[in-house]
Structures are given as structure tokens and as C-alpha cells.
Amino acid sequence: MKNTKKPSLKKWMGVLLAGGMMASGIAQAEFDRGTMLANTCVGCHGINGISDGPAIPSIGGMSEQYFIDSMKEFRAGERPNTIMTRLAKAYTDQDIADMAKYFAKQKYVQVEQPHDPRAAQLGQRLHNSFCDRCHDAAGTNPEDDSGFLSGQMRAYLEYSLQDYMSGDREYKESRMKRELESMMNRHGDAGLQQLLDYYASGKE
């Protein structure tokens, strides 16, 4: 009765191929390696990677590139975090690549959160002048390879921006540093909160 064999990667593939031909009602795609691995993220990041809030970020729909970079940076302890380094260390490069494919296939869903609508309007203007060129469609376009902004969890975005500004998180784009700093110089904390209100509105 005991089956303690560890199926090899080849077996996995075998399962998938065989499954395609069976009329068993089994949702074979669910047993895809990336999907099974991604199941270990759901308890925090939400079903299909869309967070239930208030702070753990949504990761569904994220670009493969940004996902892979993020996981590897967490794993190496290079990016500030509270828990992801401890978790990411359990995943191989292959695991990360497989999960990246899974999450890239999900649809990003913007989550509307409490926000001040007037501040959000001002935030939209700030976004357009300082951030839009790299964070298209209010930061909802995965092709920007840069993490989501509009509809992403507000508390998480605030932590992320603080991490950049304190120097704890390395800017991949020196121009983002320039834009963020000039936004802060001109509009200060109020400007930052307006941006966050805009992103919390979930609008594009």
C-alpha cells in the first residue's frame, strides 16, 4: 500500500501526457508542476495569487521576469522583506521558473481599497508626470516587468517605496530613483500619500 517512490520529472511529464488522453474528468492542468508548487503560496497571496488584503501583495498575473528576479533576490537575501527570504530558500531555480509561468498565466485583478478620492486625483497627476513612462496603465501592465501599482495592496506599496528611499532596496533603474526623489522633493509625504491613494483606488 505504501508508495514512497518519488516521481521523477519525467514521470511528471508522463502523467501530463497520459492525462491529456483520458476521459476521467480530471483537471490535469492542476497537476502541472508549477501549479502544484504555486499552491504553497495561496494561503498568503490568495487564490490565483490575488490577495485578500490588507497587506500581502497580489502576485497573480506578474511577469515571469519580475517574478523570477524577485524570488531570486529574496532567496539571496538581497531584497528587504519580513518572511519571503525564509520561504524562497526552499525553491530551486527550476521551481521558480515553473511558478513564474503559472503566475504569469493568471489574471491580475486590481483590488480597490479605502482611499481618499480627491487625493487619488492628485495622485494620478503625480503618477502621470513621474512614474507613468515605466509603469504603464497605472502600473497594471505586467509587460513593464516592475511589479503592480494600481490595485496592489497599499500597505505593501508603502513599505516598498520606503525600502527604495531608505536605500535598503536597490533601484534597478537609476531613473526611477531620480523621479521618485524629485517627486518627494517637490511634493513630500503628502505627494507620496496621494500616489498611494491613487493606487488604492484601483483605477487606471
Partner: protein, 432 residues
């Protein structure tokens, strides 16, 4: 384009599942896999807690043609996670109460009944109402039961006077009320259980929540923990957090330093331990634990009081076609937690579906995280990822671990907000 397509197929799948719900109830009662198709059949899940509710959901998702029946006596499930926050006076019961409407919508046949017995040879269960049901595969996730025969002076009635609050609901409210009516400067005594027990950090999160309440409302009161073990989960972090936030309010006495309990005089609220006699105002006696009654009665347990299983498929090593998950099973180094139970439910459901279709088992990674609040704005966590290797569940080397010691207050606060996030996401995964 790709995204839209996969979304549509998923939606269609759900529609299919929903359309298929009319027949299963009758089929399940006769118990034969009459669909004649490979992969379909009757799976019965006992217990609508973390493990059982998640298993039912994933079974249906992995094979929408399965007849999945979930048997749970209560119409509402109150989670233990979050119940300490209710005791601390800043969280409401309704925030930790869930129901089975989504399970029904997902095409699961939900029956609010108690399972009286299981016949593992005939593969038939008997309900307290007298009905019988046959199964092809059975998932058992009954949680824990208490051992009332370890310490002198206590029995099953003790909980009415000294709430354990280790199953959430009325017990939670009773302990909260006793805490709130405690005299000024009184003593809150906790007897913490020996290993292995449900939620290793649970008692110590509770201590922080009790202290949080007392600090505001009864600042000269004391908390005494008489521990039936010598070390506990996240100990350094808890002690650091207690000292930082509550000064000298909390005293922890480990087993060998006098914690060892001799007896309790329930009527006089007096504890006799190696430490000496303690007259307390509130006693939170958390009894030693074992697998839920039904698991024991079905003969699924071994001498440890818990259920040995195949660590890949969660099938009992004692009875074929019965899978045990959650607190009741022995899952290697995985702690008994809601997060563990949910993760095990996925791995178990996948392997049941594959086995019923005659396919090879797969070894999925499992996960656990336990966030604990020390104050409403100060949390710590422990996390682990598990692999299946050489027939066993093992923690992936070099991964997991606890929050750092000495972290800045804003980091503890972030973890407190993420704690709420974990709760919301997992509750949605299990009951949403």
C-alpha cells in the same frame, strides 16, 4: 489573449461542476461509483474545519466529476486562529466565523451531521442519525480531542469552569468573560500542554493577548504559565516581546523548574504544581491532546494518540482508502496548524484524485506558517516548506525559520498587518 482563454476554461469548469451537483447526493448514499468512468466516484470528507473543508474543495476542483460529500455537525465554523484576539478584546467572533455556503456552491454535498462510526472493511460510515453511506475514499480531518485522564482533579466537565478555549466558540467567550471579570491585581494562570499539541505557539500568543487586555484594564494583575514542557515555539521571540511590551507581568515556569502539574482543585481554583500551590482567579487549563474521537474509535491511531499515514498521500498506514489530514495525523515535522492542515488537504486531494484515476502519486511541497501577535501591533512568525523525500516529509534544508530577534518595532508592526492578511487569504481559500 492567452490569459482570457485560460480564464474562460476555468469558468466553464466551474459551471460544469455546478451543473453536476443534482445527482451526487443520491449516488453518495448508495455508495457505488455508478458513473462508470475512470476517475469519478464517491469521496466522503469528515470534518468541516481547515483540513476537511479544504480537502473537499480541492477534490472537486481536481476532478469536478467526483461526488464529494462533506460531513460536519455545525452550520458555522469558528476558527481557532484569531480566537486569541477575541480573548484580547479587540476582535469580534463574527470576524472568525465561516459557513459552508461556498462549499455548496462549489458543488460539494454538505451534510450537517455527526459521523458515529466508520467500518473500514466494508467502507461504510454510519451517521448519528442512523443513516449509512458508502465511500470509495474517505478523508478524516476531525481535529483534536483532549486527554482528561492525565492530571488529577480534572474531567470533561472541567471546561465549564476552567475554559481551555482550545476549540473556538463558547469556550473562547467564556475565557474572555472570566478575564474581563477578574479582580484587580488578580492572577491569570495558564497550564500549557505537553507536546505534541495543536498550534505550538497558540498558548503563548494567548498570553500576549491576555496581557494586552490586562495592561489596559487591570495593570497590577499577573500572568503565570505553568508549562508541561521545557521549551516552546518561538520562545526567544515571545519572551523578548513580552518583556518589551508588558514588563514583568508574565512569569513562565518550565516543566523542570516547577511547572509540572500535580493536580487541580477546580472548585477552589487552586493549582498544585512542583512550584507550589497557586490560588488563581482565572485558570486556563489546556489539557494534553490526541487525535479526534472518531479517529481513535476507528482505530486509525497508534500509541502516540495520533494517526500514522503515508506521508506522500496521507493514506492511513492502518486502514486502506482512509486518508487522515490535519491535527489528527502524524505528518513528520509539520506542526499541527490550520495552515499545515490546508496544505495537507491539497496534497491529499491531488493524490486521491490521481489514485482513483489509476495514476501515479505525486509528491507535492507542503507549507506552514504560524503568525502570532504579541500585541495587536507586534507580531512574529515561523515558516517552513516541506518536501517529500525517501518516504518522509522533511523540512527543506536551509529554508524556513523564525522572525529575527531584536527587530525594529516597525518590522513587528508589518508582520502584524501581514498576520491579518494571512488570515484573510487562508480563510478565503478554505471557506470562500
Amino acid at each position: 489573449m492567452k490569459n482570457v482563454f485560460s480564464k474562460l476554461t476555468r469558468r466553464q469548469m466551474i459551471q460544469l461542476a455546478a451543473a453536476g451537483i443534482a445527482a451526487p447526493a443520491a449516488l453518495a448514499l448508495t455508495g457505488c461509483s455508478t458513473t462508470g468512468r475512470k476517475g469519478a466516484g464517491n469521496v466522503v470528507v469528515i470534518g468541516g474545519g481547515f483540513g476537511g473543508s479544504a480537502a473537499a474543495k480541492y477534490l472537486k476542483r481536481y476532478n469536478p466529476e467526483l461526488n464529494v460529500t462533506l460531513i460536519e455537525p455545525n452550520k458555522e465554523y469558528i476558527t481557532c486562529p484569531g480566537s486569541n484576539w477575541v480573548i484580547g478584546g479587540f476582535h469580534e467572533m463574527k470576524q472568525i466565523t465561516h459557513n459552508y455556503n461556498a462549499a455548496k456552491k462549489n458543488g460539494i454535498n454538505v451534510m450537517h451531521e455527526t459521523v458515529a462510526s466508520v467500518d473500514p472493511d466494508k467502507q461504510v460510515i454510519k451517521l448519528a442519525s442512523g443513516k449509512t453511506m458508502a465511500y470509495d475514499k474517505l478523508v478524516v480531518s476531525p481535529g483534536i480531542d483532549f486527554k482528561w485522564d492525565v492530571h488529577a482533579g480534572v474531567d470533561e466537565n472541567t471546561e465549564k469552569f476552567l475554559p481551555h478555549a482550545y476549540k473556538a466558540g463558547d469556550q473562547t467567550l467564556l475565557l474572555r468573560d472570566q478575564l474581563q471579570s477578574m479582580r484587580q491585581g488578580g492572577t491569570f494562570a495558564m497550564v500549557a500542554p505537553p507536546n505534541p499539541f495543536r498550534c505550538p505557539p497558540g498558548p503563548y500568543e494567548r498570553v500576549g493577548m491576555v496581557a494586552h487586555y490586562l495592561k489596559q484594564n487591570n495593570p497590577t494583575a499577573k500572568i503565570l504559565i505553568l508549562d508541561q514542557k521545557n521549551a516552546f515555539s518561538k520562545q526567544g521571540l515571545f519572551v523578548e516581546g513580552w518583556e518589551l511590551n508588558y514588563g514583568q507581568m508574565i512569569e513562565h515556569v518550565k516543566l523542570d523548574d516547577g511547572g509540572k502539574l500535580r493536580s487541580i482543585d477546580v472548585k477552589n481554583k487552586t493549582i498544585d504544581a512542583d512550584y507550589g500551590k497557586v490560588k488563581a482567579d482565572v485558570i486556563n487549563y489546556i489539557p494534553p491532546q490526541k487525535a479526534g474521537k472518531l479517529a481513535v474509535a476507528t482505530g486509525l491511531t497508534n500509541e502516540s494518540g495520533y494517526c500514522p499515514i503515508n506521508q506522500q498521500t496521507f493514506e492511513s498506514t492502518i486502514h486502506k482508502n482512509i486518508h487522515v489530514i490535519g491535527d489528527a495525523c502524524i505528518a513528520g515535522p509539520m506542526p499541527k496548524s490550520g495552515h499545515s492542515a490546508t496544505s495537507q488537504a491539497r496534497s491529499c486531494a491531488a493524490n486521491i484524485v490521481l489514485a482513483m484515476a489509476g495514476q501515479e502519486p505525486i509528491s507535492a511541497k507542503n507549507v506552514n506558517t504560524c503568525y502570532s501577535l504579541v500585541t495587536p501591533d507586534y507580531a512574529i512568525s515561523v515558516a517552513a516548506i516541506y518536501d517529500f523525500q525517501d518516504g518522509k516529509i522533511v523540512s527543506v534544508p536551509g529554508s524556513g525559520g523564525v522572525s529575527p530577534m531584536g527587530a525594529a518595532p516597525d518590522v513587528r508592526k508589518m508582520e502584524a498587518i501581514y498576520t491579518q492578511g494571512w488570515y484573510n487569504s487562508i480563510a478565503d481559500e478554505v471557506w470562500g
